[in-house]
């Protein structure tokens, strides 16, 4: 078991190295002179030359890559060319809102999507099933900012239940914090809910046709118990897999949600950095998100052995 976890960790290293290499070399792959593009249209030749030195574009690619990776391994992501602050500081300042948003979204999505998918599978072909599946297709099709604006219009502008925009830090109390995030989380969560509900339905439907479910029914186990204990437990592997893969949707969606709701998180930092052409910050945030994504999916891969004891490595 420990050997398996170690082997999986080792296998994740080349993937992370490729991500790091790719994110780093983007600067060189871009057509034209990246320094001139980042400096903008109104920059003087001196400013461009200065920026080229700041970005290290005057040094050979490999030298620069090695020193960048070396700094990275020491937890140094470089310096922002707009604010001149270390990128790790910038990220640390923006981490709380994004983590809060994602945590609430994740909990909300699991609480809604899994029962929804399981019930749809249990009553497959019924009106309830069709309703759930139609909602799922619509959820896939409405982009996150569209849902965000619709929900904001209903709950903030019309009903005035929650603030229209902004973020209340967690130090200010759990109530205001939750109120500032519930609508953004719902907006961010809809695609995720649609995805998980669809997979849950498919996985539970597969399990419900197994012999042991018929046996359980024959010996008098109640419907609820069959569905939520026998069926869901055995359908958990594909569900957990899609929860992990779907984190990519949450990360991409957070960039948009934070823009719609004016939440000062990592997504907003990315958007601001794009507008300021602050490439080192974009590089740092993407690297962080991608590493987090790889690690989460690694943990999920390892969790299979706990969810399904038949899986042995």
């Amino acid at each position: 078991m420990i050997g398996y976890i170690l082997r999986r960790l080792l296998a994740a290293i080349p993937v992370m190295a490729i991500v790091a290499f790719f994110v780093f070399s983007l600067l060189y792959l871009a057509p034209g002179d990246p320094a001139a593009i980042i400096a903008g249209d109104h920059a003087s030749p001196e400013q461009i030359a200065q920026l080229r030195v700041t970005l290290g574009l005057d040094r050979p690619f490999l030298t620069r890559f090695v020193s960048w990776v070396w700094a990275l391994l020491h937890g140094d992501l470089g310096t922002s060319i707009f604010t001149n602050l270390p990128i790790t500081t910038l990220i640390a300042q923006r981490l709380e809102p994004t983590l809060s948003l994602m945590a609430i979204t994740l909990v909300l999505a699991l609480l809604i999507a899994i029962p929804m998918g399981a019930l749809a599978a249990w009553r497959a072909g019924s009106l309830l099933d069709r309703l759930v599946m139609t909602t799922a297709v619509v959820g896939f099709s409405a982009p996150v900012f569209v849902i965000g604006y619709v929900l904001d219009y209903i709950f903030a502008i019309q009903l005035r239940w929650v603030p229209v925009q902004g973020y209340a830090p967690i130090e200010g109390g759990l109530g205001p914090w939750f109120r500032s995030l519930i609508v953004p989380s719902a907006a961010l969560g809809i695609v995720y809910i649609a995805l998980i509900a669809r997979i849950t339905r498919a996985a539970v439907l597969e399990v419900l046709s197994q012999d042991y479910i018929r046996t359980a029914r024959a010996k008098g186990v109640g419907s609820g118990s069959i569905l939520f204990v026998h069926a869901l437990r055995n359908a958990s592997v594909p569900i957990v897999t899609v929860v992990g893969i779907g984190i990519a949707l949450l990360i991409g969606g957070a960039v948009v949600t934070e823009t719609v709701f004016a939440i000062p998180g990592l997504g907003r930092l990315t958007v601001d950095s794009v507008l300021r052409r602050d490439y080192p910050v974009i590089q740092g945030v993407i690297l962080l998100f991608s590493f987090a994504y790889v690690l989460i999916n690694l943990i999920i891969d390892v969790s299979y052995t706990f969810l399904d004891p038949r899986i042995r490595y």
Binding site: F21, F22, L26, P143, A248, G252, V274
Partner: protein, 301 residues
């Protein structure tokens, strides 16, 4: 195992008399009633395509014409969807904006499917290249697609062409993984092994045996890529990293509407509705095609 056809062959002519082959128009009707999603999706998509192509003849004005005296008008008989904060006609902007979404969606679907197909075939056939190529694809896939597209756009000038390239790079690794999977499962089929044993060259095997089997999943996948590309384009334009603001696109219109969000929500809701309907149409088409092309899997997903 219970589906083995045990009817004796001599009954074949009786069967043909009892069930004459349906005439073509009935077959289309039967298909439509069996897969209504395909029909609804196709119709919706055709409407959006028609509105975009024929925009100049549908009572529109110049979508970039600024008229400061007619700023932020509510919808009226004069301008059906009202005007934006610069006095531009929203109806014209939304109709012309569809062109950007459709061009990006279809271009990315075609480009990402073709590149992904080539990479997947390469990885599937060249055993030595398989490991390294798929590790690179894994690496690309570990970067969330929207972030990858944002970082690519941060390094180039905003233009429709650059958006297409950026979204294609973010989308094609998934196609390559799909194609590689198809190739690997087909390679071990007896008829492919027979072709290899008979000395067929790889291009022949690809054309005769692999491609015909890969077309169905690729077509379904490319509809999802098309929908996803439209959403990513709108997101890029919305956050200011997509097509330049001068070009009307649904993402740009919504981005400009943000300033007046609390006063004039329809400036965001109308382009949002068009975007959602178009994406929904393509998703319905994709779901329907998936069910129609793979009747076995249809019951499960």
């Amino acid at each position: 195992m219970s589906n083995i056809d045990v009817s004796p062959p001599r009954l074949a002519h009786v069967k043909a008399e009892l069930f004459p082959p349906a005439r073509k128009q009935y077959r289309i009707l039967a298909f439509a009633s069996k897969y209504p999603n395909v029909i609804v999706g196709t119709l919706l998509l055709l409407i959006v395509i028609a509105l975009s192509i024929f925009a100049p003849w549908l009572g529109t004005t110049d979508p970039t014409l600024i008229a400061p005296t007619r700023r932020t008008r509510p919808p009226s008989s004069d301008s059906w969807f009202g005007t934006d904060m610069l006095g531009r006609d929203l109806y014209s902007r939304v109709l012309y904006g569809g062109r950007v979404s459709l061009i990006v969606g279809f271009s990315v679907a075609i480009l990402a499917s073709s590149i992904g197909l080539l990479v997947g075939l390469f990885a599937g056939f060249m055993r030595k290249a398989d490991g390294p190529v798929m590790r690179v694809m894994d690496g690309l896939m570990s970067i969330p697609p929207i972030l990858l597209a944002i970082s690519l756009m941060a390094l180039t000038q905003g233009s429709v062409g650059n958006v297409i390239i950026a979204v294609t790079i973010a989308e094609f690794p998934r196609v390559s993984r799909l194609t590689r999977g198809v190739v690997l499962s087909l390679r071990s089929q007896t008829y492919v092994e027979a072709a290899v044993a008979a000395g067929s060259r790889i291009p022949t095997i690809v054309l005769r045996h692999i491609l015909p089997n890969a077309v169905a999943p690729l077509v379904v996948q490319s509809t999802y890529i098309c929908a996803s590309a439209m959403i990513v384009e709108a997101i890029l334009s919305f956050i200011g990293a997509g097509v330049p603001p001068i070009i009307p696109s649904w993402g740009n219109i919504m981005s400009e509407g943000r300033a007046l969000w609390q006063l004039r929500p329809h400036l965001i809701f109308i382009p949002a509705l068009f975007l959602s309907m178009t994406v929904l149409a393509i998703n319905l088409l994709g779901d329907g095609l998936r069910d129609a092309l793979d009747p076995k899997g249809a019951a499960h997903v």
